[in-house]
């Protein structure tokens, strides 16, 4: 327990330090000004969310073919943590957009995609809460997770094509636009810290799910006797 607290404190301090460095080390962007610095956490979180959902897909496929409970635990951990990262993307986007465009939300292609992705994984987690039996819950949520993941590139392309036909203000410009070397360093630092955070959070959630499984087993034992 103490070890995990120490790890968490170190990691969170690291993230705060990284943000501070990103803040001061990277130069202020010419056209946008200081507000551009939201870019680092916004994009890094989006990337980490995709890593999390890729992990969820891997876990889902593993479960369907091996039926190992560990795969199920990894799946739910990855989905929940990924959803947290999506939440941060969806909050930092509008915080950036409002001072720059004067509006909180535009149906910008990337943000819309992120929203739909979030909805898919909310559905995944909701489905899990609606199936009581552990084996069924694991199997059917895994199958839904697989379909959901296959949908992601299709959602991405359809939204992008649709947006090129009905253009709107784009949040945060292209990913690589104006990436000066010092900005690149700041971005990499941020991404490194967030990947560490991703691993820490998934690990914690995984252990929680494993513990929950053993509690369920103990409960069943207690009922039988």
């Amino acid at each position: 327990m103490v070890k995990s607290i120490i790890k968490a404190v170190i990691l969170f301090a690291l993230i705060a330090a990284t943000a501070y460095i990103a803040f001061n080390y990277a130069p202020i962007e010419k056209s946008m000004g200081v507000i551009q610095k939201i870019f680092y956490i916004h994009i890094a979180c989006a990337f980490s969310a995709f890593v999390a959902f890729g992990t969820c897909f891997y876990a889902n496929v593993r479960y369907v073919f091996t039926r190992q409970a560990k795969a199920d635990w990894l799946g739910v951990a990855a989905a929940e943590v990924g959803l947290m990262f999506i939440l941060v993307v969806l909050i930092t986007g509008p915080i950036w957009a409002h001072p720059v465009w004067g509006i909180w939300w535009t149906w910008d292609a990337r943000l819309t995609l992120t929203f739909v992705l979030g909805l898919l994984y909310v559905s995944y987690l909701l489905l899990r809460s609606m199936i009581e039996e552990p084996d069924k819950r694991a199997l059917f949520s895994a199958l839904f997770g697989i379909f959901a993941f296959l949908d992601v590139p299709l959602v991405y392309f359809s939204i992008r094509w649709w947006r090129t036909q009905h253009p709107q203000p784009v949040i945060l410009g292209g990913a690589g636009s104006g990436l000066e070397p010092r900005m690149r360093v700041a971005y990499l630092l941020m991404w490194g810290a967030l990947t560490g955070l991703l691993i820490l959070l998934m690990n914690a959630r995984y252990k929680l799910e494993a513990l929950r499984a053993s509690v369920e087993e103990l409960r069943r034992e207690a009922e039988v006797q």
């Binding site: 369907v64 739909v116 559905s123 059917f140 379909f147 296959l150 299709l154 959602v155 939204i159």
Partner: protein, 224 residues
């Protein structure tokens, strides 16, 4: 018995069951009608406005109707305990899904085509010159709805609150179908009608992806 003959037999059963009572078809058509009428109160249905909003609301109402219409698909089997019998009757479990999704596509297509003239009259759009192309768009779109819809009907049958779970699972996933179908329909209802092949190709691709996924994972969806 091969996959196709198994499918044909099961498909016959699905179609016969529905056409005996026709309750699914009639309630779905009425539902779409209600939604279309309600939508008309949200904007002024002049010709140009209808062309802007019409395709979207048409497909939105199809999607809502489908997420209700697909509920009984596997629920009926569960309630009557016929799923294990069904699985024993075929050599390839994919036949069960193939039969159900073809039946669902047929039902959806029928309700959509029935709605088309009513929509045209209520919203002042010209559908006759592009009727065949519209049916093509409806076919590809309905497949796009029915394929994951049939799969998720099997999934939601295992969950509590299944009436709400099916739309919740299905609708976010169908975003690409909604976009592609709306764009294709809008192109055909435009002042200068055109068939947007890129979007149709995309719809076909969507159908292929999920049909393949259903083929690969279908047998696991039938586990009890």
């Amino acid at each position: 018995m091969g996959l196709l003959s198994n499918t044909a037999v099961l498909l016959g059963k699905e179609l016969r069951t529905e056409f005996r009572s026709r309750e699914l078809l009639t309630t779905t058509v009425v539902f779409i009608l209600v939604v279309v009428v309600l939508f008309s109160f949200t904007f002024d249905p002049t010709s140009s406005e209808s062309r802007r909003f019409g395709p979207g609301l048409l497909w939105l109402s199809f999607l809502f109707a489908a997420s209700l219409m697909l509920q009984p698909c596997f629920l009926r089997e569960q309630n009557n305990d016929t799923l294990s019998a069904l699985r024993l009757s075929v050599s390839d479990p994919f036949a069960i899904f193939l039969a159900k999704l073809v039946a669902n596509t047929v039902f959806l297509l029928l309700t959509e085509v029935l709605m088309l003239p009513i929509f045209a009259v209520l919203y002042n759009v010209h559908i006759l010159p592009v009727l065949a192309q519209l049916v093509l768009v409806f076919l590809l779109g309905s497949l796009g709805v029915a394929i994951p819809g049939t799969a998720f009907s099997a999934i939601s049958a295992q969950a509590r609150m299944r009436e709400l779970m099916l739309p919740l699972l299905l609708l976010p996933l169908l975003t690409p179908v909604l976009i592609a179908s709306t764009e294709s329909t809008a192109g055909l209802l435009d002042a200068n009608p055109e068939l947007r092949w890129a979007w149709l190709g995309f719809l076909a691709g969507f159908d292929v992806v999920f049909l393949t996924a259903l083929w690969l994972f279908g047998e696991y969806l039938l586990e009890e």
